[in-house]
Symmetry: C2
Subunit: 216 residues, 2 copies
DNA sequence: CCGTTTTATTAGGCACACCTAACTCTATAT
DNA sequence: ATATAGAGTTAGGTGTGCCTAATAAAACGG
């Protein structure tokens, strides 16, 4: 009973991601995320439960230890792939997500190791998210969304939670990328934009985007 | 009607390879090569014919222009992957085949381009086989198998047609790899071994292996 | 030339992962 | 309290790619 076919990996990965915010994941959210019909997901979830990869209760779906282990393995391969694509193959950070979604299912443990070593053991993906280590251990820092800083607060960008290429390009063009220092100059009231200062330039930034940028 | 699902790519790739020696490919050889039952291959062949990717006559199966185009695209990705694995990720030449078999179906045209450029436009895979260009054009040199050289003939190794890792390791340990100059010292009669000289050392080499090494 | 082996196909099934339509809850809003 | 919306499952069906067993046709050795 194999547990690591691409399809299963995709389900577990999605559940893992959704689990971050919404603790037990609902069938409908999962279906939406995977772009599948609700019954398909319902059925597959039953199979995953049989394989002891998820627990399916009234509250929703959550990963078992084993399911979690596999999900993190896939995420590790995804993020290592992204690094390979940017650092070695010269892709921009906005181009790598879809590419990595395909690669993550085609990478063996050996290749994983080789990529990691060739890249000099990177700690994060190009968007700033931590790469789980071989054992699935993830180093978590406590971070604040940029949107919650007050006027005159400073921070260093750690991660940018955004997949849309256009938006990523835009952010990169402003220099809003991991490792960079930002200062909030003003915060417009009533949910208005933030005025931020990045490497000497001032930009207005919507609250929504700002909430996707995490700083420390 | 998609034509480039992994399964189809694998069939076309296999047909392409078998086509090299046996012009129209037989169902049974293809089944053996793909490690599938004959009826499965028979059935799939019908579908490939419907999609105009192969012609299936009494003589056997052969690729159409379109089938050929796709097969070469896959081979290009396979060989570029192998180069990526050896040149950048530090794999040995005997480790890359299986890895590349998985990668070749997960590589987009953009990634193909990026790999090629990052590698400095390599002309061959690590085993010395030509990498088709973007348009599927393959540069073919006329080569002789090492096994056909006479005593005192010299040649430069171009390619090594071998997939068994143990054998590849062995050949590498003797220095029998592409670009290397070999001299045949003696040829034992009755299909016996060749005595070859590689970078100052003498080795006895079976005819069968020698026939897989092509020189110019 | 005929029996045997090899080669290819047909027939019939199975597993997988998806779908739509229809049904059953539950949760709420009036 | 009841109509209704939303979420989740069941039922039934599809396409794909594989299998075994049985059959047909071609190739070959004596």
């Amino acid at each position: 009973m194999k547990a690591d076919t691409p399809r299963i990996e995709e389900y577990l990965e999605s559940i893992y991601k959704l689990q971050q915010d919404e603790h037990p994941v609902s069938t409908s959210r999962l279906a939406e995320h995977l772009k599948l019909s609700a019954p398909s997901v319902s059925e597959m979830t039953k199979k995953l439960a049989q394989k002891k990869l998820v627990n399916h209760t009234e509250k929703g779906i959550c990963l078992t230890q084993e399911g979690n282990r596999i999900a993190k393995k896939v995420i590790r391969r995804h993020r290592l792939s992204e690094r390979l694509l940017t650092d070695i193959l010269g892709f921009r950070w906005d181009e790598v997500h879809d590419e990595a979604c395909r690669l993550e299912h085609a990478i063996s443990p050996e290749m994983e190791k080789h990529i990691e070593e060739s890249l000099g053991n990177p700690k994060t993906c190009p968007h700033g998210f931590p790469i789980p280590d071989e054992n699935g251990v993830i180093v978590k820092e406590k971070l604040r969304p940029l949107s919650e800083l007050k006027a005159r607060d400073k921070g260093i960008i750690v991660s940018v939670f955004e997949e849309d290429p256009k938006m990523l390009q835009y952010l990169a063009s402003l220099g809003l990328i991991p490792e960079v220092c930002v200062k909030v100059e003003e915060v417009a009231p009533f949910g208005g934009p933030l005025i931020v200062c990045v490497s000497g330039s001032r930009y207005a930034l919507g609250r929504e985007v700002a909430s996707k940028i995490k700083v420390k």
